[in-house]
Subunit: 131 residues, 2 copies
DNA sequence: TTGCGTGCAAAGGTTTTGCATGGCA
DNA sequence: TGCCATGCAAAACCTTTGCACGCAA
């Protein structure tokens, strides 16, 4: 992906504006549809795929049968990665930054010989509002 | 799901025999097809859905775009819960007991106000053999 | 001009739903 | 007998692919 097409520019602008939010391709599509400047679904999937590969977006799957979610991570090189939490009651998806999770990750890697991938992993439980 | 149909009985028997293995609906379907006693895909999806709700099966998502995986967990007593780890490469399912995970759980509960359910949660990553 | 990007249409695969039939209690 | 379960067919859904046209460099 080399060209700066107007679709790519518009997409990046929108993604930066929705930092820390979880969005799907359908969300993006709806946004531009509402703006009166629709972008083809195919194009979105292809752009998003490249952006994930470039490290600008992060992709994760909370629920099969619902669309994949993406989150802008942009330029945050060596920061603590997000931990994804999904509330089993209200279905809400939370992003938290947690050093303790990193500690556990290192521990499991060292002691249990298993390399946890925080991008793929989702912690299920009950959120504050639903308690 | 109240009736003890022969499909349900056969399914449960098969599931118990494949403890701790990850299988898809397609796998189950293929098994019974090979046995000469095919079970309809629809029926399998409906049975499996109920079994997940009953807590007999656990559902995993390894990769969107590939089928959902299920694992028999049966009636596990309420002991110290396992942490479930699934290798994204070989698909193996590991159960570990990890105090560090419990620490993190408490930390997230106290600091981030989210109650992690370790029974539902699966850590995805790469196992020792696949590194 | 070159060749990547776009987007419509259609395919791909998994899961769900409608509906008539069949089986458990 | 009264329901629930079954399973075929078809829809629903997200995502990918084929292909012709358009646009960036």
């Amino acid at each position: 992906m080399k060209y700066k097409t107007k679709q790519r520019v518009a997409l990046l602008e929108y993604l930066e504006a929705t930092r820390d939010k979880h969005i799907t391709v359908a969300d993006i599509r709806a946004h531009f549809e509402a703006q009166g400047e629709p972008i083809g679904t195919t194009t979105l999937y292809r752009q998003v795929e490249d952006l994930v590969r470039e490290g600008v977006l992060r992709k994760y799957i909370v629920d099969e049968n619902s669309a994949a979610c993406f989150a802008y991570v942009g330029e945050q090189p060596t920061e603590t990665p997000f931990v994804h939490c999904k509330c089993e009651r209200c279905g809400r998806l939370l992003h938290i930054r947690c050093g303790q999770f990193e500690d556990m990750q290192k521990h499991i890697s060292g002691e249990h010989d298993f390399a946890v991938d925080p991008r793929r992993t989702v912690l299920y439980g009950i959120c504050a509002d639903c308690k």
